[in-house]
Symmetry: C2
Subunit: 475 residues, 2 copies
Amino acid sequence: MNKETKLKPELPLGFQDRRKEDLRSKNRLIEIVKKNFLLFGFEELETPSFEISENLGKFLPDKNRPMSGVFGFQDDKSWISLRYDLTAPLARFVSKNLDALPKPYKRFQIGSVFRNEKPGPGRFREFTQIDADIVGTTNNIADAEVCFLISDTLEKIGLKQNQFKINISNRKLIQGLFQDLSITEEKQKLIAIRAIDKLDRIEIKGVDQLLSKGRKDASGDFTKGAGLKDDQIKKILQFLKSENNLDKIKKLSSNDLFQQGISELIEIFDYLKEYSKSNNFVFTPTVVRGIEYYTGAIFEAALTEKIKNQKGDFIEFGSIGGGGRYDGLISRFKVTEYPATGISIGLDRLNYAIQQLQSQSYLNDEPIVICVIDKNKIKTCFKILDMLRKARIQSEIYSGDAGLKAQFKYADKRNSPAVIIFGDDEEKENKVSIKNLKKGKKDSVSIDSRDEWKKSDSQITVKMDQLINEIKKIL
Amino acid sequence: MNKETKLKPELPLGFQDRRKEDLRSKNRLIEIVKKNFLLFGFEELETPSFEISENLGKFLPDKNRPMSGVFGFQDDKSWISLRYDLTAPLARFVSKNLDALPKPYKRFQIGSVFRNEKPGPGRFREFTQIDADIVGTTNNIADAEVCFLISDTLEKIGLKQNQFKINISNRKLIQGLFQDLSITEEKQKLIAIRAIDKLDRIEIKGVDQLLSKGRKDASGDFTKGAGLKDDQIKKILQFLKSENNLDKIKKLSSNDLFQQGISELIEIFDYLKEYSKSNNFVFTPTVVRGIEYYTGAIFEAALTEKIKNQKGDFIEFGSIGGGGRYDGLISRFKVTEYPATGISIGLDRLNYAIQQLQSQSYLNDEPIVICVIDKNKIKTCFKILDMLRKARIQSEIYSGDAGLKAQFKYADKRNSPAVIIFGDDEEKENKVSIKNLKKGKKDSVSIDSRDEWKKSDSQITVKMDQLINEIKKIL
């Protein structure tokens, strides 16, 4: 490479760096989530980022174009791809280890997923998902358990009961309606389900258009519709507009699948009533979720409070996670039936929402900085450092080469609560000076000399054995 | 896809799943590491898995073949690659954010790195690295700080002082020797350094061969040597065999670079002496590290105790981490000098070593399982579940469809400390039965009926309000 031409230190589009503030909040969420998932009896699993491409197929957003949307490489024997979600790897893992796993198998996984899609504002090509699933049972207890889990976890993270709800429905309702209305083509059904899934954004008029011939969005792009007939559309819209009441909606259709969906929902809500904080589980017929593979109950956790977006406008944030029952889980690998139900939360999205909703900040303390003003006294500085760290106080010796002023600037930039000075005067009296930066934040940047500094009232000089106590007072 | 042909639920070669035991130990390590790195004043950074391929170049193991060994994709504008280590992303990040960062900038990062290499036993294509670096200073305090950090962290993880040492040297020693011996060709130097780096494995005879014409290994593969002359080789071997004593080795060469390396080491060891537990920092002239970009001090943390490998043989495990000073860090991006020093630890390797060295296990408790023997009483089961979880006891209702015997088998497979039963008898007296599985592990699997079970002495029946206390006794 030509030495004159310097490289540009940029990231590829759709990826981002995260620094401390962001990570503190993210780490805090992960810690609470893990603890709570264990509390609920889920065990942790970690699968690698890569899977054999063929094994991801069914779980891709569009199974007609299996390799679009993923990062794939030609490997020695086959194509391998970065995982698109955490469900496909679970299916592979369960199929591989069927005999060794308890049945039902309850696992959670937290990890990066990758999408090779066109990035946009707030849409990244790598992000963290949190998944919890119960595999190997058709029992509705499992569905209720997953609803408990997401609700309880959101509360433990710090959301109040009135800030979110868990919308619950059953894929069998809409599938039953399709049977009633003689809608049999898989492609039509999928387009219809995806249209309904967009209801929040495109409203009932937009759904109407997408069930019919199609819809032109604000940018002028046209999306082809499901091509349903007017009377079919009318019946579906009637269902979507109906009251959130299981007893009433039960009368909408006598179709077997539909009635089975209703019964399952009644059972699930029966269980949910026993949960001590049960007032935010809501039957919501408009919840269908856009992914193809759901077969039964479906859940969606949604914020009920508007929050600020990146531009500063208050918007409906909507879903922060969801899932459902998908009983065809491992039929690609095994002949055995192996039903499953689960939820998925987008950690980065949740993190953003939480930061907006909560006024508290979760900043840790930054390290105490021991300034170096005299290289001959550096050994004592190291002794002080050792004392501080033994007392579990975040601390460091300034490790750069600049003078005192730059050292204060450094401590200031790091948001240090205090700096420590050990010079001639201190040495004579076996003392040490502490400057409280929380108090004297403004001074410290403008002070040039050691003498000026001594005059400032945010500085104290204490005996060496008082140091830890004084620092603790500041913290 | 043909429905008859089931897919094979396999992983691509070189990747692995991790289940709970492994993850518990790994999570514990990460928790201790993070806490300690913060204690030392390092802040966390998270960069994405992908970088623009060109920006990784210098940090690849072989810069003559920049794309070998990595997973790369053709993106819209350029090639992008999964990161090979955490140093190249740091260089890019620092260059991009120079003005916003404190100077020096101390960061740590824990994350997956990817190598598209031929997998082998214990060699994976995705693994976790822990890196800590101090960027923007040539001060030897920074090098000492990094040595403190790795030593202190290994102790906090649970290693004893006599189980590891930190070998320290300086790349300037061998580079000074090369000057002395008129070895000027970069390629020759690199081959020589890599040969010395293999000393532990191939012994002095192997190094001799690799400095000369080349070496045939046990499998018959021939590696071409550096082609040095006999007198050059003699001088290098003399250096490698010399005593671990800075004062003595100082006399080996009057070369400026060599002497500068010695002075830096003397200063670093001066600082290290002030550390309260300083007896495992050792000057070791044979430590050179095989990576090209080091420019000054180099460090290597090595186990001093033999440990069992996967086959069960006790072997020298060697290095569990290391690093050094690399002052050319961002010269690819900026004209400014921006020196740096740091360490890198392979988490999975460390985790393996720790598990072998420590007899304690870090198993958490598994959940209490509430068995379901009567569907009509399931509401009370949920109330019990809610009580348990409020008391922060890991717990769940059996969510499968099988009978009591299968439920016991399930609890057994999960290693549950106890199961809870609520049937007719219990309901009449407002009581609940607890079976202590720690006590009655063997019985539980062979018991078929509720009656047999009642006779076993590991079962107790208690009032509902005594439940939590009794469970706590078992735990």
